[in-house]
């Protein structure tokens, strides 16, 4: 019974670690496929929102499997996951705003583009063909 559980835990750890690395590698390769900086920030978010938390949780499980359960490590792992999700959301928001304001090229179909519009100009219709 213990052997089966250990095997299942091993498989789970392998899936978490390799899956997390897969998301990060996919994000890196996607940087070649999208055209503008805002889209790059968009395809970057799976790496920090999903890939890295998976790696951290897998590392916690592996650490627990090798040295036994420690509550402090669990707390640190949970804090890391929460911090990664919050940090990546806030950071991509700040970065995309800066990317837009710095005048880098944006896909013209991007909508809404409220930063380039005067207040009171009204709502911008999303591009029809992209829904």
């Amino acid at each position: 019974m213990t052997a089966v559980l250990d095997l299942a835990l091993n498989v789970l750890i392998a899936v978490l670690l390799l899956g997390g690395a897969f998301w990060i590698l996919t994000a890196a390769l996607s940087m070649f496929h999208v055209r503008d900086a805002v889209s790059r920030i968009n395809v970057f978010s799976p790496a920090t929102g999903l890939g890295l938390p998976m790696i951290v949780v897998g590392a916690f499980l592996q650490h627990t499997r090798v040295t036994g359960f420690e509550p402090g490590v669990l707390v640190k792992t949970l804090l890391t996951v929460v911090a990664l999700i919050i940090v990546s959301s806030v950071a991509s928001n700040v970065l995309s705003r800066a990317a837009y304001l710095s005048g880098s090229e944006i896909d013209p179909r991007t909508a809404p583009q409220d930063l380039s519009r005067a207040p009171g100009e009204g709502e911008q219709e999303p591009h029809r063909g992209d829904r």
């Binding site: 940087m31 790059r40 890295l52 970065l95």
Partner: protein
């Protein structure tokens, strides 16, 4: 399990390398900032995995600090992109 660890490390290293190539070929500074961020987060993964390979508990603390402080680098890059304006 060692194979899995090294395979994950290899994938993360490949992500960093691909990111560096993309930084060299990127068309605009904003894209370089984004890909630089990706390299930073891949490096956090590398730190965590090296901690596992060496059975070191310090990697957990390192990952925690890196996750919390990662926003500073990103905000600094964003501020550089806009030449100091908000």
């Amino acid at each position: 399990m060692t194979v899995v660890l090294w395979l994950t490390l290899a994938m993360l290293a490949a992500a960093v390398l691909v990111g560096l190539v993309r930084i060299a070929t990127a068309p605009d500074p904003a894209s370089r900032a984004v890909v630089g961020d990706l390299a930073y987060f891949s490096a956090i993964g590398v730190i965590v995995l090296l901690g596992l390979v060496n059975d070191s508990a310090a990697a957990v603390d390192a990952a925690l600090l890196a996750a919390f402080l990662g926003i500073l680098a990103t905000v600094a890059l964003a501020r550089i992109l806009t030449r100091g304006r908000r």
